[in-house]
């Protein structure tokens, strides 16, 4: 990670396991292809993040 940050010049953001991001995606993109899909409200989105342990300022939408 340190090598990648040095190489790209990016600031450190948030690091999550690939498994966590895959499981988040199952919620985040659930029904996304359906015509009736509704974008989540900020509260709903934060609840989805929370269910996968993604908490704190980085995941706050407030």
């Amino acid at each position: 990670m340190e090598v990648w940050l040095d190489r790209t010049g990016h600031a450190r953001g948030y690091t999550a396991s690939a498994q966590t991001m895959y499981e988040l995606s199952r919620d985040w993109y659930a029904n996304r292809m359906d015509e009736k899909w509704q974008p989540p409200t900020a509260e709903e989105a934060e609840a989805i993040f929370r269910r996968h342990g993604l908490i704190g300022e980085f995941w706050s939408l407030g």
Binding site: A18, Q19, M21, R32, M33, A45
Partner: protein, 140 residues
């Protein structure tokens, strides 16, 4: 979103999931039997609402997790392949389509997803906080 914008949005996703390379107003209009100008207006509105992102030629650039342009990030299920907007979205395509397959990233990165398990593991690094995802969606 209006009812028609919902239909157009779903049509965009259907075309991208079917592997159509350039999804524009013409392609969406043809797939749904709709007026091209009306579809073009809906696509612009969806972009304004951050439901999709459009390229300069007004074709669909991003309908997350799909990318309408080639990127270093891909997902594959069997012989089918889709471009993703980032490493997370390469995994997300497999999740959304509920398929076992591979997610490809930069520098030869390959994750295999089988029965919901990602191997060989590893990390995804997000640079941009959630509330700023759409400030510069290309960078995000």
């Amino acid at each position: 979103m209006t009812p028609f914008e919902r239909k157009v949005r779903a049509g965009i996703y259907a075309l991208l999931s079917d592997g159509v390379e350039i999804v524009d107003a013409g392609a969406v209009a043809e797939s749904g039997g709709w007026d091209r100008g009306r579809v073009a207006a809906a696509i612009r509105s969806l972009a304004d609402q951050h439901r999709i992102a459009v390229a300069e030629d007004e074709s669909v650039w991003m309908a997350h997790p799909f990318s309408g342009r080639s990127t270093p990030y891909r997902a594959s299920i069997g012989e089918r392949t889709w471009y993703a907007t980032c490493a997370w979205d390469a995994l997300a395509i497999l999740a959304m389509l509920d398929g076992d397959g591979e997610a490809h990233g930069e520098n030869g990165l390959v994750w295999t997803v089988e029965a919901g398990r990602v191997s060989p593991g590893g990390l995804v690094h997000l640079v941009v906080p959630a509330r700023r995802f759409w400030d510069d969606i290309e960078f995000t």
